[in-house]
Amino acid sequence: MSLNPLDLLRALATSERITPPSMKWKTVTPSEYKRVYEESIKDPYSFWSRVAWGLKWAKPWSIVAEGSPPGVNWFVDGLINPYYNIIGKHRDTFVWSKPAIIWEGEEGDARVLTYSELDILVNKVSSALVNNGVKPGDWVLIYSPPLIEAIATALASVKIGAPFETVFTGFGYYELARRTREVQPRVVFTASGFPRRGKTIDTLSTVRKAVEASGFRGRVVVYERMGLPALRENEEGFMDFIRGEHSVVSDFNAHSNHPLFGLHVGYSSDYRLVVHGTGGFLVQVYATSHWIGLRPRDTYYCTVWPGWITGVSYVIFGPLMIGSTIVLYDGGPDYPSWDRWWRIIEDYSVTLFLTTSSALRLLSKRSSDLVSTRRLDTLRAILVTAEPLDPETWWWTYRFAGTSKTPLIESIPDKLSGRIPVVNLYIQTETGTFITGNLVNYTFPPIAPGSAGTPIPGFDIKVVDSSGVEVVEAIGELVVKNPWPSMPIKYPAEYSEKWKSGYYRTGDYGYISSDGYVYILGRLDNVAKISGYRISPGAIENTLRETLKIDVKIYRVRDIERFEALVLEYRGSINPDEVKSAIRTMIGAISEPREVIKSNA
């Protein structure tokens, strides 16, 4: 299949509209949805102001929003304690003694940490960060698989007003060094390694190379995930880092626009830092976490690692703000066999499962017995993100993972007729949270398989043609017409450029059906979406030019399983394997092209 958005639309759009049996009584009609949605975007400032009262503010805002995009300040003059709104508020409630995190390592051992224990751990890490000179506004960088200690370090940073950046471990040392140079962290948290299909990924070596390449002089804190090797002068084991006397660290009261966290996001030219502010982000992530279905009694498993926006918003922040239990797993989905994720759902009674379309496509290619023999009856919804979910994979997921054994009205287990919602949601790092998708706890019209659902209330989402005119039932660019609370507070020129027409251009082709469903049809620019990862071709070109002194051209191609893949063409004397190897170690395995072609021209 080509990259042509029309071809993709033909593959995605169908006339099917599905009401899962478990949602029979909560599903709204398209007109009911439209009424709620239109009301929300008629005056988005009032809408988000009402939503913002769901948080506790140390000092309420005087103005909901001021300024014009991209430089909009939300909740002006508002003062908020972010840690209280994530963890502290659960003290003296039933949530305090329930598990906050269940972690399972690839080897099979598991750990449970209650909210009260998490709070104690966060206080220890906060205290250690303060003792290492970390002050409000200083950055903490986290390069780690999903670990309790990584989450605690992120929360400890939030508690003391230090913004953090999580870097996905799929990125290599060169990318890590660039991020380190840019944010100038005081502390880098990492793990000594982590298992992947029984072998060890040596995270610490990558960090060491990045430290050397960036000239980083701060503290590297190493969690002893795979034992602890001999440490260097600037390194410290996590257990030593938090050992000793800890005074109770006061929570930081942040101005609404105080930086909360940042992520480097792929643009055509390179990866660029996008920073989210405290007040607006927390308002939006708390509300959307509730809307997508999370409740305090939920056990929630998200396979997206917290190096991507979904993993930050919907692992570190949203579920903990709600009081849910999160499940973390740091190994491969196929180890020891391809049913590992389904077993995790079964063993820990997972009620909400969030994963990516690519992952489901991979799973759907394996024997359906791997899922249909598991008992997934606790699941209430399967949430899918990162890229379009084709109807074929949607149906596979709905039937095999979404039916299970317990009969429900109009759900027939023996016929795999489907029972619970499988919903595709659309997110960008810049938006901070999901902005389209059927909402299990809010507006839930029937599901249109292949679509990314309907726009979420509060986000004025349209498709415009090349002259900026709104179109329906035609392919154009997906745009957001109103500012949203978690708009980035620091951003690159590329982001500003996207607001030039007065609305935010997502860079994705889109299509909205006559009944309001949004279809995402790939990028307008040359940014690639590979297995859900947003990959910057410019970063690959720059790195190879700087290090191997070669000029390259990068093309995107459609990939059946991974959505897109890269083809790289270069001129030079080195061989293609060297180019691949350089990309793998410096930029990261996730950026490795499917094909590297040496051009003779």
Binding site: F94, S97, K98, P99, I102, E104, E107, G108, D109, A110, R111, V112, T114, E117, R297, T299, T325, R343, E346, D347, Y348, S349, T351, R375, D377, T378, K405, T406
Partner: protein, 198 residues
């Protein structure tokens, strides 16, 4: 299923048909290990049915605590076992449910609450019906290990009622011949507390 579970510095794993192994530091205490006694340093038996503690308990030189052999325990007793506090609780069948001939009459078996120095509280109810004595243990329970299989012990529904009453942080269901009952219990109990199938 996870091999073992770490909670408040204490490792928990399943052992035998209705048992649990508790590891704290160098100490390994097994409750109802069945015949899988080789890794246990201390054994607590809720009663002497063979699936819980077989006839080997009469010949082993490991320390045994039970209502009938070794160190004899009774409900209400408060023990120190190698630094782990052990509270002994009632566990019996309601005679009315068994035509006056319960398989676990009062006085035959016990339940245990273990409190290692980390402060974790583990309540293994033993083989019991949903009797009033077990509904309120008098302290917060972190881990409830409870039978769910019906027959000579609580039914799935009874066990869910116990969960609602005790409100533990996590529950590990045991004692079901029919594996479907574990899932049935999980699906019914999960809204009230975290069920983990160990």
């Amino acid at each position: 299923m996870p091999r073992r579970l770490l909670f408040k510095n204490t490792w928990l794993s399943r052992i035998g048909f209705a048992g649990v192994r508790v590891e704290y530091g160098d100490l390994v205490i097994c409750i109802d290990p069945g015949s899988e006694v080789f890794n246990c340093q201390v054994v607590l038996c809720t009663h002497n049915h063979s699936r819980h503690c077989g006839s080997w308990i009469h010949s082993t030189n490991k320390p045994i605590y039970s209502p009938s052999t070794g160190y004899i325990v009774k409900p209400g007793v408060d023990l120190d076992v190698n630094g782990v506090r052990v509270l002994v609780r009632d566990a019996y069948n309601d005679p009315d449910l068994y035509n006056g001939k319960p398989p676990h009459p009062r006085g035959f078996g016990v339940g245990y609450i273990l409190i290692p120095p980390s402060g974790l509280t583990i309540y293994h109810t033993g083989d019991t019906s949903l009797v009033s004595e077990i509904l309120n243990p008098g302290l917060n329970i972190d881990v409830l290990v409870a039978p769910v299989g019906g027959g000579s012990v609580m039914t799935t529904e009874d066990a869910v009622e116990l969960v609602k009453s005790i409100k533990p942080s996590i529950i590990i269901p045991i004692h079901a011949e029919d594996i479907d009952l574990y899932y049935r219990f999980r699906d019914m109990a999960q809204p009230y507390a975290q069920v983990i199938l160990l």
